[in-house]
Symmetry: C2
Subunit: 341 residues, 2 copies
Amino acid sequence: MVAPSKRRPPVMADVAREAGVSHQTVSRVLNDHPNVRPDTRARVEEAITRLGYRRNLAARALVTKRSRMLGVVSFDTTLYGPASTIYGIEQAARTAGYFVSIVSLKTLDVDSVRDAIDYLSEQGVDGVVVVAPRRSAGPALESLPSGTPAVAVEGTLRGDVSVVCIDQAEGARLATRHLLELGHRTVHHVTGPPDWLETEGRLEGWRAALEEAGRPVPEPLPGDWSPHAGYAAGRSLAAMDGVTAVFAANDQMALGVLRALSEEGVKVPDQISVVGFDDIPESAFFSPPLTTVRQDFDQVGRHCIEVLLRQLDAGAGTCERLVVPPGFVVRSSTAAAARVP
Amino acid sequence: MVAPSKRRPPVMADVAREAGVSHQTVSRVLNDHPNVRPDTRARVEEAITRLGYRRNLAARALVTKRSRMLGVVSFDTTLYGPASTIYGIEQAARTAGYFVSIVSLKTLDVDSVRDAIDYLSEQGVDGVVVVAPRRSAGPALESLPSGTPAVAVEGTLRGDVSVVCIDQAEGARLATRHLLELGHRTVHHVTGPPDWLETEGRLEGWRAALEEAGRPVPEPLPGDWSPHAGYAAGRSLAAMDGVTAVFAANDQMALGVLRALSEEGVKVPDQISVVGFDDIPESAFFSPPLTTVRQDFDQVGRHCIEVLLRQLDAGAGTCERLVVPPGFVVRSSTAAAARVP
DNA sequence: GAGATCAGTGTGAACGCTAACAAGTTCGTG
DNA sequence: CACGAACTTGTTAGCGTTCACACTGATCTC
């Protein structure tokens, strides 16, 4: 069977010798070149399996100047949103024959993002996806070697880099309108952390929906995506008068709100309706099951790769902007507004 | 400033010319060789920044036969556990100067794992972490080129591959004992999916704790980690007589149980106590806040890299087994058993 | 002060692969 | 049967790095 006289793994020349052809023919077989006689191909393939040969992608990258490696920079991959997006990216990339190298950031300042991009570009990635949805992260893309395709998720609005995003404002509008249509006079909002693009988009959509309906726009409560923040906001809301509807900027904060209201003895949805954002798998099992905006992260991930590959083929000139529409899932945390007693 | 006469990115020779030294000296500066005169070093470094030079890691890998790339194979990176582990792995690897290439699996059969490992080894990774906690995934490691260090998370018990794991059985024992100490006669268990090592470990720990206390061991309810499964199990439990304590094999299923019990009008913890496993960030805000077993995924990730690097230095001979102890977090979903009426 | 050591630098040859070209082989066609 | 157009294969030359070694001059050591 395998006869590796030395411990050194076999290289193309070994396969060539084994099959009685030149190394170039082996290369042709490996790269699916059309002009190889079927029986030669078979002989080479047999030699490959016999020797357990694996091609050296570093050598290949060196000469082709293509690493077939895509870089991903992301903030806290522990969160459901980024994790799902990356999952989609990885699946799509692999299908297209690309590897994915990931850098997860602890903090989302310009320097971290710049460092991460430097790090990846040294590695020679063919393209980069940046899941760093803060306005301030935008300029970091400049340190990318010119000509490297890049895609930002929910990213910067600068004209020269492609963006794939979910229509955050539309999602927020969906949530807010849903509550207004149930007869609530106005809707309170628990925001994400400042400087995040999602925070801004959702804030804007919520405000717009209220203004379009001619309703008062209450002061938003500051949050940071964590259930703790939602809990704090929930306690404040419970202490306020006339609150009947709350739109939390994500499901985790909605969970915190639910918890706080429950502790205060406020019934959801009888006294207060709550809507979230994301549709994490858990939200259908909250108490009560959460009405929320659904984001198709998987599709976002797939789109990122499509855009990136398109850019790779076309030369980095092109620049697209792809918007994925949000969905809306009605569960049991929202109900018609109680009549004012 | 930058004067790249051509579009071609600068290479070492360009830096050498710019600094008036040989390419080898540039290499020495880049690799922190001791024998370089400080002013030469400075001149080279200046040339590097002036030209915006970045070294080509493919070329480096070709000659050193080290890619400085670690591969990670993981099942569903969307789940909190794998996501956190990978996060820890990535952070530790980057600190050590390694890149991380990730393959997420949709299904966890031998073939998928084997394919993933093939894929990574073609890329020439220096080592592999497998987060594929199923017994059946073990043999897939064999297709790794011999000599490639590998670490399994919660992995196979085969003697020739290193393992980093959390003591699942101990965690389950902690949970079960806690409930018994609260005066519950026995504890029901909602399991993970079959063939998972975590499932087995938790089942075993639970069973052991009951037997040690001389208590009856009820038939476990089958689950699959999802809140849906927990919900189904919760409904069954609510319909059964004499159930006062439930240990769910993860927090998401515990959430489903909580939801089902709440729908059935069963009070937690007054009538039934519930314990989970994982301590996901949401669990502190469930209704009621969940008592659960804490897993330090971050530490697991760090340990994986430590073991891997140790193996890289020592040559693949060594093989370690590192067990991380679980923690236990008491919240409000457990209480003393109600007196039998 | 001659030989030995050492710090600092340069030279040439790989590493394993693909691209470009060259060269042989087959086939059809006038 | 000779001509060119395919098809099939081999040869050569890099890609950008690091490694092994050779070389210089300075600093020791006895």
